[in-house]
């Protein structure tokens, strides 16, 4: 059921230069000489959502690399007990910076700022987001925050050593450069809020006239809910880090017991943001998987409405459970009970999604492709991590695993195995659209095997060590943990090898791969109706919407 208007879009697009190569600060206009690269400033000051999305993509991947290197260093240090490779102060700084970079500069923006920016407008049939200049400002705020965060490593008292959670009282008294770090986080928070604001307004105001809410693709829905969390939760982080800043500089004692303050209140405020933050991290990745699975099953998603509803429930219920990070903090037993109960409630919508994805696969016509494989890994790793989360969410068992490697493994399973694998799936699904080229499948699959296997070798031993009592963030450990520590470190090497294979393959594919068609996967959402790479102006006119986003009737799956 191809419709003529969308074919017209394609025809027109072939006459236009792609958004990658056109000149002009808004990505429009022609270069008479054709393919040469436009100026740097036309990228850095572009208000074209596709260019901004790529700016984010490049930034995020760069910081991911740095974060991975830091992680590798940590694993190297921990391979053997005792003093080696780096001193304890450096070790504290390395895991702090690893956390700050990964959480604030990589994972939180990962799927929404990069893929959300590029594909949300396309999926709703729009030519850009509602506030394109605000979009650019968001990226510059992100970069400013990143620069400040890096600067904090080399100035003041040196890199912060408090852990990315900046708990008081240590964060208010430590001589390291916490102040600059939290200022960086403050600015990054604004970037996040403004992006969320932009996406919400875009989805409300810029949907193609025929795109009802029921035809909005699940990726866009996930970005929509994520944006609400960004808008409503991030301000709490802003005010919390502001208070740490004031306590360090002006002696405000709101968390200082000597001045009547309560350190546990810091933890409440911190986690009121940081728990919803993990849903900011995971929801877009779930959206990507929800878009990918139907395409490679050639079947509509099972339970579209339930997936939307579960997205809403995760966003809402996820705002109520922050206290489960504080079971051993000295909080009241009543609060422990309430938060533990609610934590089990929030697990339900996630389980609904997993069920729906599996049900979509059932009796589908499965096509094994790299994006599909990464989505499967996502489902497996996220589910495993989520089940561990139940152990931690249950207050009684949490007593034994709190602040142990069990927690570290849990969040790496859901954040790395979840969000980042969703990100990798998105890369394999959408890079051919963005750059118009295809990568090598055999190499992509090799990378996937190394990555998935290496990931489990890296983190599964941590689950065991945690249960055996190995505390997290510790510089040294008892000798009987050594064998598993070593296994984990070897796992880190396999994982990084997998990452290298994956990224080299993607990079090579995007530069030198075969040209990709506008719809190499036979997708039914709007981004597959325009050229690869897309033109500067996505759609000549509002596209006509004649099918549901997962209705593949009449769309052939292209033969390899």
């Amino acid at each position: 059921m191809e419709n003529h208007e969308n074919t017209d879009n394609l025809l027109q697009a072939r006459e236009q230069p792609s958004f990658l190569s056109s000149r002009g600060s808004d990505g429009s206009g022609n270069r008479p000489d054709g393919a040469a690269f436009p100026s740097l400033s036309s990228w850095l000051f572009s208000t074209d959502h596709k260019r901004i999305g790529i700016l984010y993509l490049v930034s995020i991947l760069s910081f991911f690399t740095i974060g991975v290197v830091l992680g590798l260093l940590l694993r190297l240090k921990l391979m053997t007990p005792g003093s080696n490779l780096m001193g304890p102060q450096t070790y504290n700084a390395v895991f702090t910076v690893h956390g700050v970079i990964m959480i604030f500069l990589v994972v939180i923006p990962s799927n929404s700022a990069s893929f959300g920016n590029i594909f949300l407008p396309m999926q709703i049939g729009a030519n850009d987001v509602f506030f394109p200049r605000l979009n650019l400002l968001s990226w510059w705020l992100y970069i400013s925050g990143a620069v400040l965060a890096v600067a904090s490593l080399f100035s003041g008292g040196g890199a912060p050593d408090t852990g990315w959670t900046f708990y008081v009282p240590f964060s208010t008294v430590t001589k390291t450069n916490v102040s600059l770090s939290v200022l960086a986080v403050f600015i990054l928070g604004f970037s996040s809020i403004l992006t969320g604001l932009n996406f919400i307004t875009s989805v409300h105001r810029l949907r193609a006239p025929e795109m009802s809410w029921q035809r909005v693709p699940l990726f866009t829905w996930s970005i929509y809910f994520t944006s609400w969390i960004q808008v409503l939760a991030t301000p709490i982080l802003a005010v919390t880090v502001l208070l740490v800043f004031l306590e360090r500089f002006l002696g405000f004692g709101l968390f200082d017991p000597a001045k009547g303050g309560d350190p546990i209140l810091y933890q409440h405020l911190f986690w009121i943001y940081s728990h919803p933050a993990v849903y900011i991290m995971i929801l877009p990745a779930m959206g990507i998987v929800s878009d990918i699975i139907p395409v490679f099953s050639r079947k509509p998603i099972f339970g579209y409405h339930f997936i939307v509803a579960s997205g809403f429930l995760i966003a809402f219920a996820g705002s109520l459970v922050w206290g489960h990070h504080m079971f051993v903090s000295g909080m009241s037993d009543a609060a422990v009970a309430v938060f533990s109960f609610l934590t089990f409630v929030v697990a339900i919508p996630s389980a609904i999604k997993v069920f729906n994805w599996i049900a979509t696969l059932y009796k589908g016509s499965i096509h094994i492709t790299p994006p599909f494989l990464y989505s499967l890994s996502f489902i497996f790793l996220f589910s495993l991590g989520g089940l561990c989360g139940l152990v931690i969410g249950s207050a009684g068992t949490d007593m034994h695993v709190h602040d142990t490697y069990f927690v570290v493994a849990h969040f790496h399973y859901v954040i790395f195995g979840g969000t980042m694998f969703g990100f990798f799936a998105g890369l394999h699904f959408w890079l051919p659209k963005i750059f118009g080229r295809m990568y090598s499948f055999p190499w992509a699959i090799r990378g996937w095997v190394l990555l998935t296997a290496g990931f489990n070798v890296l983190y599964f031993p941590m689950l065991v060590m945690g249960l055996q009592g190995m505390p997290r963030r510790y510089y040294d450990y008892l000798p009987h943990f050594q064998s598993l520590q070593m296994v984990s470190t070897v796992g880190s090497w396999i994982t990084v090898l997998g990452l290298l294979v994956m990224f080299v393959n993607l990079f090579h594919g995007m530069r030198k791969g075969e040209a990709a068609s506008e719809n190499p996967w036979g997708g039914a959402t709007l981004e597959w109706t325009i050229s690869s790479p897309p033109p500067s102006e996505n759609f000549a006119g509002p596209p006509s919407i004649t099918r549901d986003p997962y209705d593949f009737r009449g769309i052939q799956y292209p033969d390899a």
């Binding site: 808008v231 409503l232 709490i236 005010v239 004692g253 001045k259 009547g260 309560d262 209140l265 405020l269």
Partner: protein, 188 residues
Amino acid sequence: MGMWIFLYSELILFGGLFLLYAVYSNRYPREFSMAAKNLSQLPGALNTVVLLTSSLFMVLSTIGVRSDSRRDALLYLGGTIICALIFLVIKGFEWHAKYEHGLIPNSATMLEKPKGEMIFFSLYFILTGLHSIHVLIGIFLLSLMAWWIHRGKLSKENYVYLENSGLYWHFVDLIWIYIFPLFYVVVP
């Protein structure tokens, strides 16, 4: 719509501080009453009236633009800005008085006070401080709007920016409406 979404985030921003107030006032009820005696009700009440009036002027300015009366619009917008400046001046005097009495966080005088009073003053300064920063931003924003009205960029046909600035300004008023009773209502 964009401005409303921004205001929701601002609501949560101040909400976090009100959370701290709620917890600490519950923990130190007597000290909070004691400390509040140090705040004079007159400037607090005056500032409340000033901000409410500024909100009125904001509404009247928007009516002016919609009625195509540039003169009215600018007049009332000017009134809003003047009220905002008066607010900051009064606040400045208040803060100065505190400074004179050594009633600022971490001063020698402050450190000898009961813990609950120290908390009260910390909350007072951060809430009124953050609020005043928002007032200052509002003054810049409204001045820009006045300039745009003068240049004809805002008119009866297109006054969305003025309305959005108005929303921001009313929000600033809203926050003060809550700050006032929390810090200035002293019970004997």
